[in-house]
């Protein structure tokens, strides 16, 4: 039987990141997936990034992951969302040509010398003595491993719904992983169901584009990954249209035929990504909802109508589409549908995304109750990285809520669980001012280098950038008097006093670009460095206020709670708290404090008990 230190199951966005990061760390990895040509497939919207999600892309990229570079390789439309607001919430987003994106992912997968792709359906896990030992494939093949990473997306027990129709499947025209789901249920893994949906795909040749407003790609040349030197594809327009009262009437009249309303689906879908049925039912007073018509690629006429995910019957989909301006003659290439699937209760996972009760089994991606490529990719990276660290005997990278959105997500998932598909939002990150998309590399690449998962090229680039930063910071630390500033042409009054150059940037008319022009600071050689440092300066006073909070957080993070910590023995905890803590099993006092319903008083009681335990042990 062949043995791999790590086997990754599922070649979606989570699976490829998990497999590649472990391979970059030098481990032999098998990536087992149903259809190797579907590696890198985008199930839904052909777009990468967005608010909160763009941060995740940049963080995955900081670890030398695939997502950012593949997004640039496929990008046919760039848009920086939220540009009117503070840069900590800017959301870089691209629309990608599906084919080019998938090809770029497969190319990266193929280029990893220690990564082997095995086509097949995993039908079961081999579990011995509470540990994962290997997997068995539907065709009978057996593989042995030290760790397995489950990245099966919407395929576990997947059922598709469209009007009155039902199909078993994980995505349209792709079979579900029914056998694996059955085994996991039998092994009493904590599974639950969620649902999501996708809109119909339209034939762009039947859309009356001339009547619609268009949105061009951003003209300035930013990219998703700082390693992508430039934009490689021709850029295309998106167009906008909206629903109207006729559309709403048609939908309302047919609500009972939607599986969401007929009771066929009762799993919870994402509140922030409602189906058009939901939008019209819940927010009936609105007279129209915006739709973005997004091209799916350069050499395909397919168009993705963003904003009208639906599982209404095909005839209703066609009827309401044709009531929309510009779509009067539209042909539906592939109707929309909803999918209901099994997910693992993420509270059964620890912060490395390993199952607490099943050593060697990691879970990442939509299987953990999230939604979105970026969320999936980031979890794949976290799981693959930790699994590889464990097997290679390396220290885990110190990811926490104060240094990454990735850790915020993993922490939220494993401590709160999910009641609807989890999507990244900047509001989830309490230390948002320090977690910007444009400083992801500065925050995380040092950790990535330490973990040994970045290429030589990225390491060199990073070091060059750090050198430039040091020179810049040195210059900004030098004190300058008001008269010096005036000599150089800046408006400065004497009452400002002598102060470091960095502080002078708070005054109107003084910024890094102008300072570089007069030679007070080095010119920008590293793209984006000046704006990153300028923002660091801008937010510094606010970031400083976090310090006390962070000290407490990190101190509490160090107070470990054993996996078998006897919560029921702690005096003063209510039954409900004992139950929640026992189910979630936080690994530290800080984590316990983030379990919903745990009060500071309860935390104090836990602390006392934890200390007693340590003393007794």
């Amino acid at each position: 039987m062949r043995h791999f230190p790590i086997i990754v199951i599922g070649g979606g966005h989570a699976g490829v990141e998990a497999a590649c990061v472990a391979a970059r760390m030098g481990l032999h990895v098998a990536l087992v997936t149903m259809d190797a040509t579907k590696i890198g497939a985008m199930s839904c919207n052909p777009a990468i990034g967005g608010l909160g999600k763009g941060h995740l892309v940049r963080e995955v990229d900081a670890f030398d992951g695939l997502l950012g570079i593949a997004a640039d390789a496929g990008a046919i439309h760039y848009r920086m969302l939220n540009r009117s607001k503070g840069s900590a919430v800017w959301g870089p987003r691209v629309q990608a040509d599906r084919r080019l994106f998938g090809a770029a992912v497969r190319e990266r997968v193929a280029s990893e010398p220690t990564l082997e792709v095995i086509e097949g359906e995993v039908a079961g896990l081999r579990i011995e003595g509470g540990k994962v030992r290997g997997v068995s494939l539907a065709d009978g093949m057996q593989l042995a491993c030290d760790a397995a990473v489950l990245c099966t997306g919407t395929f576990l027990g997947g059922v598709l719904f469209r009007g009155e129709e039902r199909f078993e499947g994980g995505r349209i025209a792709e079979g579900a992983a029914a056998r694996l789901a059955r085994q996991l249920r039998d092994a009493s893994l904590p599974l639950a169901r969620l649902k999501t949906g996708t809109p119909p795909r339209l034939d762009g040749r039947t859309i009356d584009w001339a009547r619609l407003a268009v949105q061009p790609s951003d003209p300035d040349q930013w990219t998703m990954s700082p390693l992508s030197k430039e934009r490689v594809n021709p850029q295309v327009f998106c167009a906008m249209t909206r629903t109207n009262s006729r559309v709403h009437e048609i939908i309302r009249a047919n609500l009972s035929r939607s599986p969401l309303y007929s009771g066929a689906i009762d799993a919870q879908g994402p509140r922030y990504c409602p189906s058009i049925e939901d939008k019209i039912d819940r927010f009936g007073d609105r007279d129209g909802h915006q739709i973005f018509l997004e091209p799916e690629g350069l050499d395909t006429p397919l168009v993705y109508p963003n904003g009208i995910s639906t599982s209404l019957p095909v005839d209703v989909q066609e009827a309401f589409l044709r009531a929309i301006e510009g779509l009067e003659q539209v042909r539906v290439a592939e109707p929309g549908y909803a999918v209901e699937y099994d997910h693992v209760d993420p509270r059964s996972l620890d912060r490395s995304l390993q199952m607490k009760d099943l050593e060697g089994l990691y879970c990442a991606g939509q299987i953990n109750g999230t939604t979105g490529y970026e969320e999936a990719a980031a979890q794949g990276l976290v799981a693959g990285l930790h699994a590889a660290c464990r097997i290679a005997g390396r220290d885990e990278p110190g990811l926490d809520r104060a240094n990454s959105y990735m850790a915020v997500m993993v922490d939220d998932l494993t401590l709160h669980g999910v009641s609807e598909p989890y999507r990244m939002l900047t509001a989830r990150a309490e230390y948002r001012l320090r977690l910007r998309a444009n400083n992801a590399s500065s925050r995380l690449t040092p950790l990535a280098i330490q973990a040994g998962c970045v290429s030589e090229a990225r390491r060199r680039r990073f070091e060059a950038r750090e050198e430039a930063r040091e020179a810049l910071q040195l210059a900004l630390g030098r004190e300058r008097s008001p008269s010096e500033m005036r000599t150089l042409g800046f408006a400065a009054t004497d009452d400002a006093g002598r102060q470091p150059l960095g502080d002078w940037t708070r005054y109107p008319g003084i910024d890094l670009t102008r300072l570089a022009e007069v030679g007070l600071v080095p010119r920008e050689t590293e793209h984006g460095l000046h704006s990153e440092v300028a923002e660091d300066l801008h937010y510094a006073p606010y970031v400083a206020r976090h310090e006390a909070e962070l000290r407490e957080l990190r101190a509490n993070e160090k107070i470990a709670l054993r996996p078998d910590f006897p919560f029921h023995e702690v005096p003063g905890l209510s039954n409900e708290m004992v139950e929640r803590l026992s189910r979630t099993r936080p690994q530290s006092l800080a984590q316990a404090g983030r379990v919903p319903g745990i009060t500071p008083a309860a935390l104090a009681a836990l602390l006392v008990h934890a200390r007693k335990h340590v003393a007794a042990a």
Partner: protein, 409 residues
Amino acid sequence: MAIIRISGPGSGRALNVLAGRLPNSRQASLRQIRDPQAGWLDEALVLWFPGPSSATGEDCAEIHCHGGRAVIRAIENSLAGLGLRQAEPGEFTRRAFLNGRMDLLEAEALGDMLSAETELQRAVLASSAKGHASNEVAHWREAVLSASAAVEQELDFSDDDQDGIAPTPGWCSDARRVAEEMAAWLAVPPAERLREGLRVVLAGPPNSGKSSLFNAILDEAAAIVSPIAGTTRDAIERPVAIGGVPFLLVDTAGLRDEGADEIERIGISRAGQELARADVVLWLGPEGEGPSGVIEVASMMDAAVWAPKGEGSLAVSAVTGEGLPELMSRLSAVGRDRLPKPGQVAVSRRQKQRLETARLQLLEAAEVEDLLIAGEALRQARHALDAMLGTVGTEDMLDSLFGRFCIGK
């Protein structure tokens, strides 16, 4: 009559053993109390409150027995025999807090109220203990949550997503309004003042009659028997209640009468310190020569040579007691004015600090242009309010966000 309260998971069993069987929950029943070994102890009313909807959040029981010491002791012994122990001071309150039956503000106020010695202390703290203060804070927290939700909506959903949804107006003015309401609380003296009492310092040159007046007032006022440890620092301080208002009377005379030069000097400087710390100064010296803001008192009315002082002053004789009732009622009026009043919320100094943080952050949020900083300031304000109540949560903010808006694609 005596009431023995039992809390904790063993309550049901204990009541079962002593009273034969559990009564219906929350209904008083008359039972014979028997110890398994010692036999019949008493006839008593017993009550059974299953958790979590009990005072402490745990299973609770009450035995209303006859008040004789022997009876109480016997029942306590029997309970101890069942593995129960006496509650520590404040333990019921602490457990109620731990189990989420009470928040921090309520718990603090209850603790203070239970040790209240004057009517004013009790009246002010009772409303906080009953949760009125917490309700108000919860109200503010609600307002801050909505403001946060409005800001986060702006931040977390791009202009494209928000199509047609006007940004929630008015969160800025809401934040300012809440900050103003907080300022009103902050203007109330801290709750500790109720416990410590208003410092009334008797001052004046030597032999102006301070000590005799001090003693006369002490005779007239109700002594507070068990001063909270640490409030009375030396022999010249006395906690008293005048007209239901707590005071701490300070006689600076004691400091002057020590004799030796060295001690005299220290004494003088201490008298100076006392004057600086005083809330009310009764000035017995020549009119107008005391520090500003004093109550002028023309003492020793009974003396051969005596002159009244000007308008608003008091005249008093420690010997005959003449003028003393007027002095007392003046003090109690001043006290009622300067201490938290019933109906006002008095919070501890620590809580006031948190409140002040919240207030400043709200003002900053309403002021700044960068929404991100507004979001951060609102988060800090929420954090401070959470700390006041002893609760925490970003999840609440998200719920409030999603409950109100149709967001996303």
